[in-house]
């Protein structure tokens, strides 16, 4: 009886954990950095794959158009089209890059606004460390040729930079949602730590990213940003493909924006999202989709409300 109960508890725990874990689209003008690595789960065959891919991200927000509680709201729809790729240089080292194209729309009660163009490109270098099970001395005594056995754990450390390839407009900073920009106009540093664990049927991916924002030519500096994401996935292997449904969580913490080295009030915030999605991996391509919904948020003094986000991606493997 005790065992049954414990089993039930463990199962429940796994379920709960799975439910809490989430990921991937970050609510902000920064949709870069670690998303390159978390875009595909890197299970088995993918470990050293190089690929190019295309990703579409849709995000929606509601922002207050004014400073009062009864100010009208504007509806924002952000469409981002990303070209991205990853190329291994050695067994342990690879580089990734993203070039986004942004199409941002904002509807006020009486007018509409639209900006589009290239966003900020990100280039990252990655170092991957795979962990192996402890060397089995007993086995080594019996057999002469003992292979190292992967433990299923691996970590990736990434360092890179986000380039000001997207246009930054000072005039747009006067509006309530400071994320309504094609780019930050600054050289930013991106530091990333990713851990993944893959067992036979399931796995967990966790990303921590820190964005060190630079100052742009308007003496404007977006707040440094910390992003975290964790996904729990389950692998269903078929003859020709593998299906990976996943569920997870992610979040962002933004520091205050500074201009002229002065912090601007109501420009910091946090958002915590839940996400569900699935990925299909074949020997030639990876197709994935996920849906993100904010669970809790407090962005820019509560003046910006993140709504849902959707992402669809298709990656082609280059080294078959």
């Amino acid at each position: 009886m005790m065992n049954v109960l414990q089993n039930f508890k463990i199962k429940k725990l796994i379920l709960v954990l799975g439910f809490i874990f989430i990921s991937q689209v970050s609510f902000s003008c920064d949709l870069c950095g670690c998303s390159t690595s978390s875009g595909s789960f890197g299970l088995g065959t993918l470990n050293n794959a190089s690929f190019v891919g295309f990703r579409y991200i849709y995000q929606s927000f509601e922002s207050k158009d004014g400073i009062f509680s009864n100010s009208p709201t504007s509806k924002e729809n952000f469409h981002t089209y990303q070209l991205w790729g990853r190329v291994p240089l050695t067994e342990k080292f690879y580089v990734s890059a993203i070039l986004p194209y942004q199409d941002l729309k904002r509807k006020y009660t009486d007018r509409a606004e639209n900006i589009n163009g290239f966003g900020d490109a990100t280039i990252m270098g990655w170092y991957k460390i795979k962990f192996y099970k402890k060397f089995d001395k007993e086995k080594a005594k019996l057999y002469t040729n003992v292979q190292k056995e992967p433990s299923g754990h691996s970590i990736e450390i990434g360092i890179g930079t986000k380039l000001p390839t997207g246009k930054f407009e000072q005039i747009l900073t006067d509006r309530v949602n400071p994320g309504f920009q094609l780019g930050t106009g600054s050289f930013d540093g991106v530091l990333c730590f990713a851990h993944s664990y893959g067992a036979d049927k399931f796995g967990v991916n966790t990303n921590l990213t820190y964005y060190l924002k630079g100052e742009n030519k308007n003496d404007y500096r977006f707040g440094n940003q910390f992003s975290y994401a964790s996904n729990f996935f389950y692998a269903i292997a078929k003859e020709k493909y593998m299906l990976l449904p996943f569920v997870g969580f992610n979040g962002n913490i933004y520091n205050k924006i500074e201009q002229y080295e002065e912090k601007i009030a109501k420009t910091d915030g946090t958002v915590f999202n839940g996400t569900v999605g699935a990925e299909i991996t074949t020997k030639d391509f990876i197709f994935g989709a996920n849906y993100t919904l904010p669970i809790s948020h407090n962005l820019f003094g509560g003046n910006v409300t993140p709504k849902q986000a959707l992402s669809i991606y298709l990656n082609f493997k280059l080294n078959k």
Binding site: G66, I67, F68, S69, N70, S71, L89, T90, F93, V95, G125, Y127, I159, G160, T161, D174, S186, F187, G189, L212, G214, E215, D219, Q259, Y260, E262, K263, I264, A265
Partner: protein
């Protein structure tokens, strides 16, 4: 080792951008736009149509909000004070007139200003200059209904509407008119506010200082006023100074656009 090269390249790129800020020389004159935005608590003030909670069971519908803003001074980050020329430093802000809520200050020395001071009403010194010393402002104030008479003086603050309460169930008019009473009572007071971020006046950039005036503070400020006790307050040696204090407490700087 390739990896170290890439990391080094990233750091170099970041360092270059981080170190490229240069000292700018600040000279010349520019403009400042000062916006007075009236609210009722956190809501944008809406005249006549909206009923607001006041003290106890009282509810108000406001029909008129007007005040005189004067003697504007700006203090920069080094503590240097720029006083706007006194003869040009009297303005009437009217809720019904959107344009009146934007005060444009010209020929302001370029600088980084961190504080603003302004008066509500007309100071004794100005009043003592006599009717001719008031220049165009006298006519302006008369036309706007911001004077009782020359002898009684200017109305610094006008607040009118109708109210209801548990006691007063039919809409009843109220009016608070606050000012100095000739030379007998001086109700002119100044407000100094820290700017949320510096207003950076340059020859080619006009910062906008967005001031919010929370009108709910008139009835519920340092002193609480029940309209059932007195719905009409005009010249009152006790209550006028109290209203003046409440009015001074209603201003905050929401933000500054550069």
């Amino acid at each position: 080792m390739k990896i170290t090269k890439y990391i080094a390249a990233c750091f170099i790129a970041l360092t270059i951008t981080a170190c490229s800020s240069e000292e700018e020389e600040i000279t010349g004159e520019g403009n400042v736009s000062l916006e007075f935005d009236n609210s009722y608590s956190t809501s944008d003030l809406l005249l006549t149509t909206t009923s607001y909670d006041a003290n106890e069971t009282e509810e108000v519908k406001i029909s008129k909000v007007k005040y005189i803003v004067s003697n504007i001074r700006l203090e920069d980050e080094d503590g240097v004070v720029f006083t706007y020329p006194k003869e040009d430093s009297y303005f009437i802000v009217t809720e019904e007139d959107g344009a009146s809520q934007f005060i444009n200050l010209t020929n302001v020395p370029a600088g980084n200003y961190t504080k603003i001071t302004f008066g509500i009403g007309v100071d004794k010194e100005k009043y003592l200059e006599g009717a001719t010393g008031q220049g165009d402002f006298l006519t302006l104030a008369q036309d706007a209904g911001m004077m009782w008479s020359w002898q009684a003086g200017y109305k610094f603050f006008v607040f009118e509407g109708v109210y209801t309460s548990d006691e007063t169930t039919t809409e009843t008019a109220f009016a608070f008119h606050m000012g100095s009473h000739g030379t007998a009572l001086d109700n002119y007071k100044e407000v100094t506010l820290d700017l949320t971020n510096s207003a950076r006046v340059r020859v080619d950039t006009t910062p906008e200082i967005h001031v919010v005036a929370d009108i709910s503070k008139v009835l519920a400020g340092t002193t609480s006023f029940l309209l059932d006790d007195a719905a009409q307050i005009h010249v009152d040696a006790v209550k006028s100074p109290q209203i003046s204090t409440n009015v001074n407490g209603m201003f905050t700087v929401d933000h500054v656009h550069n």
